[in-house]
């Protein structure tokens, strides 16, 4: 018996319904959502975009905007009803007891006031505390959130600290008033994986110390598994499943949750266990959500007539674990088999020795010249400063295979892609594609060469020209490169549309009529139109929802298998890369730290940076054991990269070398060659690296 069970919840939401007024009438964004949050508990709300999870949060703090309104249900904060109050009443009721942390820390930070002043202001305004005391308390709180050099940071401005540090400041600000409820809306989505890991550790820490109730909103199942005690899964405005975290991951009861689990990329140790199964169909728009039926029925593999004519209620299946489904007890997710055509058949991996690499890069360097502000440089005598975005990269990509390049922001992977494709000119080094030299920018390349090297972009919204139809845009490369005679262009476009699983009606559509996933598919069709030999994919799925992501990745895999195209896949997400790549290269500050076949990267021996990356990735399995290696400090600037090994400022394994790793500062590391093309860029000898334990030990998979 614990106190928690007898106390009343900090937040109780019952049958909440929120609608927005639009030109076409009222649109229901959230329907029938109920949950409780106790002290010192984190309740996660997880769902894809458009499911209404942020709307629920905004409803609680009354940030719905002029056209949003709560049309039903109740929100009780500390036993006080919030729905139906005036703004003034709400302000007194909430006061400083509810705090919110957003995805973008700059939404909460004032760029023109120092960090210290902003933090102290929270106390001087709300508590009438004297300035000196507020200042000291702020420093204490910054140290509490593990801010290095806290008193120094107090004097700085928001733009002078990194994203991860900004988010820590925002959390510190939120906690200064000791709120009873903390709402976090995707606070780590915009952060790099290693920074995210530190912030997540912090959130767990703080919950313990401050007893705050936390409402954590995210689309990332891995993050949920790491920080939440209870989870609510939302789909199309409704809460479809709710329960304790182990129960939800171990034994999901609702078909949507089960589907989500299947399409989230995992760090499985074999390629088969990493397969992704997308959910067929798409999320219904708010006006297409029937009231008298199960909203998931159109996409559900188990739907019956009853599901289409009767709306299920959220009912308790086991202790504390509920789902909105009639058939939860009868459905066994382990017995699920993918329907025909959902996933491509993976061809067996054939070992073809001596595949001539299609792309050969040796010691490639791309430096950007930094405009120097010194007076000397005006006269032409100043020291030239370079941003060393790509600093000595050598890789080879065998034909027909996929190379995944992984790294965090600032590692140079985008610059590498731009250099290969010709949008940037390299400063030094060699690059050869199909035997041709590609160290020249695209404007100087032969047309025959250009058409063999194409690219798929990250942002679906800007990948298509809004003024032209889909058919026209896919047709353009066909016409330009004369891939087919002009009479056959239209039929070739149709063929490409079908290859990306879009039907012919898309030919005449404009980009604004397409969804994110559809636009990405058109982008893929366009890239593949000229039948290139190599396609560069620059984070093609990071802007997409999880279930759409799975479908697009499967599509790329299928197209690669059918046409034998080689792919260079750039990503920051290690689990996505695992699924997709034959070979992986890990980048940091313009260097490659580890490269080799995919299985070799995800198992020891690791480069210390790879080890840290793998231990930082949030895994969607609360039972998985993961090593807890965290990197100190921030990524050094590419203007002044550290001497010797660029990782020496943060390497957690420096101690394995004599003298605490003095050699790491002085000398550039050698390449250590493990079996089969696996190489590691480190001073630590291979035998020691081989002693490392695997980072992730998953249960029964």
């Amino acid at each position: 018996m614990t106190m928690k069970q007898i106390q009343s919840p900090v937040l109780r939401v019952e049958n909440l319904a929120i609608s927005y007024e639009t030109r076409y009438g009222d649109v229901e964004a959230v329907r029938d959502v109920s949950f409780d949050i106790q002290r010192a508990t984190t309740f996660g709300v997880v769902g894809e975009s458009g499911c209404g999870k942020s709307t629920v949060a905004f409803g609680i703090v009354d940030f719905l905007g002029s056209n949003g309104k709560i049309v039903g249900g109740s929100i009780k904060f500390q036993a006080r009803e919030l729905v139906g109050r005036t703004q003034k009443e709400l302000r007194t009721l909430r006061g400083d007891q509810i705090a919110m942390v957003y995805q973008d820390p700059m939404q909460a930070l004032n760029p023109s006031v120092t960090i210290g002043d902003q933090l102290a202001e929270v106390l001087t305004v709300h508590r009438d505390a004297p300035k000196a005391e507020a200042w000291q308390k702020s420093i204490d709180m910054l140290e509490r959130v593990y801010m290095p050099d806290a008193s120094n940071v107090m004097e700085r401005y928001a733009h002078q600290i990194s994203g991860g540090q900004q988010q820590r400041v925002v959390i510190a600000m939120a906690l200064l008033n000791n709120p009873a409820l903390l709402i976090m809306d995707e606070p780590t989505t915009a952060l790099d994986v290693t920074v995210e890991a530190v912030v997540l550790d912090l959130i767990e820490d703080l919950k313990r110390d401050f007893d705050t109730a936390i409402l954590y909103i995210t689309h990332n199942l891995g993050v949920v598994a790491r920080v939440c005690n209870y989870v609510g899964v939302m789909y199309a405005g409704e809460l479809v499943e709710k329960g304790p975290i182990e129960a939800i991951f171990d034994d999901p009861q609702h078909p949507y949750t089960q589907g989500l689990m299947r399409c989230v990329p995992k760090l499985g140790t074999t390629k088969e266990s990493s397969l992704l199964y997308p959910i067929r169909g798409r999320v219904p728009a708010p006006k297409d959500r029937p009231k008298g039926a199960c909203i998931f029925a159109p996409r559900c593999d188990y739907a019956t007539e009853r599901c289409r004519t009767e709306a299920p209620l959220l009912r308790e299946i086991k202790n504390g674990h509920g789902a909105r489904c009639f058939y939860s007890e009868q459905i066994d997710p382990r017995a699920w088999r993918p329907p025909q055509g959902l996933v491509p058949e993976l061809a067996a991996v054939t070992e073809e020795a001596d595949r001539e690499p299609i792309l050969k890069i040796k010691s490639l360097r791309t430096y950007y010249e930094q405009e120097s502000r010194s007076v000397l440089s005006l006269v032409g005598m100043g020291e030239k400063l370079y941003v060393k975005a790509v600093d000595g990269v050598s890789i080879e990509v065998p034909r027909g295979k996929t190379l995944g390049v992984v790294g965090e922001s600032g590692c140079g992977k985008s610059t590498l892609a731009k250099t290969i494709i010709g949008l940037e000119a390299p400063t030094a080094g060699q690059a050869e594609f199909l035997g041709f030299d590609i160290t020249v920018p695209v404007s100087k390349r032969d047309l025959a060469l250009i058409q063999e090297l194409q690219m798929v972009f990250q942002n679906p919204d800007s990948t298509m020209n809004p003024s032209y139809t889909v058919g026209h845009q896919i047709g353009r490369p066909l016409r330009r490169f004369k891939t087919v005679p002009s009479g056959q262009v239209r039929s070739e476009v149709m063929r490409l549309l079908n290859a990306v699983r879009l039907d012919g009606s898309y030919y005449k559509r404009l980009p604004r009529q397409l969804s994110g996933g559809e636009k990405q598919r058109v982008g893929i069709a366009r890239a593949f139109a000229s039948r290139p030999d190599l396609v560069l994919c620059d984070e093609p799925v990071s802007a997409l929802d999880v279930s759409v992501q799975a479908a697009v990745l499967n599509l790329l895999l299928e197209m690669q298998q059918q046409s034998g195209i080689t792919m260079l896949f750039i990503a920051h997400d290690l689990s996505v890369v695992r699924f997709f790549s034959d070979y992986v290269a890990v980048m940091y500050l313009g260097h490659i730290f580890e490269a080799g076949p995919a299985e070799a990267i995800y198992a020891p021996p690791y480069h210390p940076y790879t080890e840290a990356l793998l231990s930082a990735v949030p895994i969607p399995d609360p039972k998985a054991e993961q090593k807890h290696i965290r990197l100190e400090g921030t990524v050094p600037s590419a203007l002044h990269p550290p001497s010797g090994c660029p990782f020496h400022t943060r390497c957690p394994r420096r101690g394995m070398l004599p003298d605490g790793g003095q050699i790491c500062e002085q000398e550039v590391p050698p390449w250590r060659h493990n079996t089969e093309g696996h190489r590691i860029f480190c001073h630590i000898p291979l035998e020691d690296l081989r002693q490392m334990e695997p980072v992730v030990t998953v249960g029964q998979g």
Partner: protein
């Protein structure tokens, strides 16, 4: 930020051409501002086109017995100092501005001086703006400095200098309007191009090896057309106003051409004498047309922003 798979249901096919045009046009009807503006502008355009049908008098016909009269049954807006019917002069004056451009004795183009001036300005200005915005580097520097130079002249002064230099004829007025309008248009297009060129579809075009001209005119320009069209409409208003001013200063179209500005100039002397009509009606005409165009442009801008 993740995007979802929400899309318009399958059965929507790209509508027919007439339907599309209607959809675009119907935006106008939603905005009251735009409608009012459109009504005023259409009024003048129609009146100008149908001019001969709307008045028995010629704009140059002088009647010494009916000088400086007020509105009456016969002269519906009154007469000027030379006995010419003001209404006729107004509607024929509208012709040159809005409807017909007399290039030479025997050759004319539809559209009017204001429209042609703005169109020419659009052509030149867009090209300069695209070049500066997309190509960047020293091209941008040169273009910007050129525009700076042009913009540093006060508008009316620039007009005066040009007309004084080349003489006052319809084509020269067109030229003047184009020259004066170019910097503003170029700046607008340049900033639009600067924004658009960061998009991935421009990268995609570059990767295809498309040349700069293609990218500028085929990829970038169509996406900038919204703001450009609205700006152009405003400029037609400015041009009309400028022509009025020029006419007032005596630099308008040579007499006896029914130039609104010069009508005001000539009628000015008689205001205090009790016949303000010769000055009043042309002023009202200029004002109404400019206001109408502004309202129309504003209404469109509001609607296009809301539509997004």
């Amino acid at each position: 930020m993740a995007l979802s798979e929400q899309t318009i249901p399958q059965k929507m096919v790209r509508p027919s051409r007439w339907r599309r045009i209607w959809e675009r046009v119907s935006i106008l009807f939603v905005s009251k501002t735009a409608m009012i503006g459109l009504v005023i502008v259409l009024f003048w355009v129609l009146v100008a086109i149908l001019a001969p049908l709307l008045t028995p008098f010629s704009p140059t016909e002088q009647d010494y017995e009916a000088q400086n009269q007020g509105p009456s049954a016969k002269h519906f807006l009154g007469t000027d100092s030379l006995g010419r019917d003001i209404w006729s002069r107004l509607i024929y004056g509208a012709r040159v501005v809005l409807v017909v451009l007399p290039v030479s004795e025997n050759f004319w183009l539809p559209g009017g001086t204001a429209l042609w001036g703005v169109v020419l300005g659009l052509l030149v200005g867009s090209t300069l703006g695209l070049m500066g915005g997309y190509l960047g580097g020293w091209v941008d520097e040169v273009v910007m400095r050129l525009l700076d130079a042009m913009m540093s002249f006060p508008v009316i002064l620039l007009y005066m200098i040009i007309i004084a230099a080349v003489g006052a004829s319809a084509t020269n007025v067109v030229l003047a309007i184009a020259i004066v309008g170019t910097p503003g248009i170029a700046r607008l297009v340049r900033s639009l191009a600067l924004d658009i060129r960061t998009r991935d579809y421009i990268r995609a075009a570059e990767i295809r090896g498309e040349n700069s001209l293609y990218i500028m005119f085929v990829e970038i320009l169509p996406n900038a057309r919204g703001p450009i069209i609205i700006d152009a409409m405003l400029r037609v208003g400015y041009a009309i106003f400028a022509m009025g001013t020029l006419g007032f200063l005596g630099l308008g179209l040579p007499p006896p051409s029914p130039d609104w500005g010069s009508m005001v100039a000539k009628g000015r002397q008689f205001i205090l004498a009790g016949s303000p009509w010769a000055a009043l009606w042309p002023s009202v005409a200029i004002a109404s047309l400019v206001v109408g165009l502004n309202l129309f442009a504003d209404g469109l801008r509001e609607e296009s922003l809301r539509y997004q």
